[in-house]
């Protein structure tokens, strides 16, 4: 028995993670601003993390831009179980 999972499901999972990431990042930033933590050190770390994040997202986009997300991934359940014993 095999199951076909469309590739875009993983894209949706990734987008859900991105939403979570943005929420936590903004929450951290608000925390810093509302508790007297806005100094040159915290600003430098924030810019560094923001820069690394932007670079990662751009790099990810470049690598997956040409992907056809409608392709299905076939997972053979019967084989997976029989292989594990």
């Amino acid at each position: 028995m095999s199951i076909a999972i469309p590739l875009y499901i993983f894209l949706f999972i990734y987008l859900a993670f991105l939403v979570l990431f943005i929420v936590f990042f903004v929450f951290n930033l608000i925390h810093l601003m509302h508790t007297g933590g806005t100094t040159i050190v915290s600003l430098a770390v924030t810019i560094l993390v923001f820069g690394m994040t932007a670079f990662s997202l751009l790099f990810t986009y470049n690598l997956v831009a040409d992907t056809d997300w409608r392709q299905p991934i076939e997972i053979n359940i019967a084989n997976s179980f029989s292989n594990s014993y």
Partner: protein
């Protein structure tokens, strides 16, 4: 928000010290962050050499990229959240009181304060090789207030600070005994 607004500074109050943990104590986190940053190189090497069919599968590649992206973004977020927690642990000493703001985690924060005249005893401690080298350590304050013990963790120059806090406490005691 300024520090004065944060502690609701009184008109006669002046801030003597605004203390964070010593930045050297954050180096282990930076080291862990760098290790986690380069770890995928080893995983990529293993996949390329021992799981070549997976590596060359056109369906597997976008999944690998998405997983890698989630991994890197997670460690950036871990690093940033840890930094915020570290950086928002502060102690503010004024000529009237000591405010202890402890950021336990992203969603947990405690604020305590003691009037300086209630400080009964202060002990400073510099313990360990790195602490001796970079001159940081803990200050333990015994008080007569509702919070009997305050600890200032890994602050710079603890011996000098202990002396200055005791001086400020003595001045405050004179003011309150008038």
């Amino acid at each position: 928000m300024t520090i004065g607004e944060l502690i609701k500074q009184k008109t006669y109050e002046r801030i003597a010290f605004f203390l964070h943990r010593h930045l050297v104590t954050f180096i282990p986190v930076i080291a862990l962050f760098l290790i986690l940053l380069v770890a995928p190189l080893a995983v990529g090497f293993l996949l390329k050499n021992f799981f070549l069919p997976w590596w060359e599968n056109p369906l597997f590649q976008p999944l690998l990229v998405l997983f890698g992206s989630i991994y890197f973004l997670s460690i950036f977020l871990f690093f940033y959240s840890y930094f915020v927690t570290f950086y928002l642990d502060v102690w503010i000493v004024t000529n009237d009181r000591l405010v202890d703001i402890r950021q336990m985690s992203l969603f947990s924060r405690t604020v305590a304060e003691v009037d300086l005249f209630q400080i009964q005893d202060a002990t400073s401690e510099v313990k360990g090789f790195w602490a001796s080298l970079f001159n940081y350590g803990n200050i333990y304050l015994q008080t007569a207030g509702p919070v009997p013990r305050f600890v200032l963790y890994n602050v710079t120059n603890p011996n000098y600070l202990r002396e200055r806090i005791l001086d400020l406490a003595a001045e405050d005691k004179k003011f309150h005994s008038k």
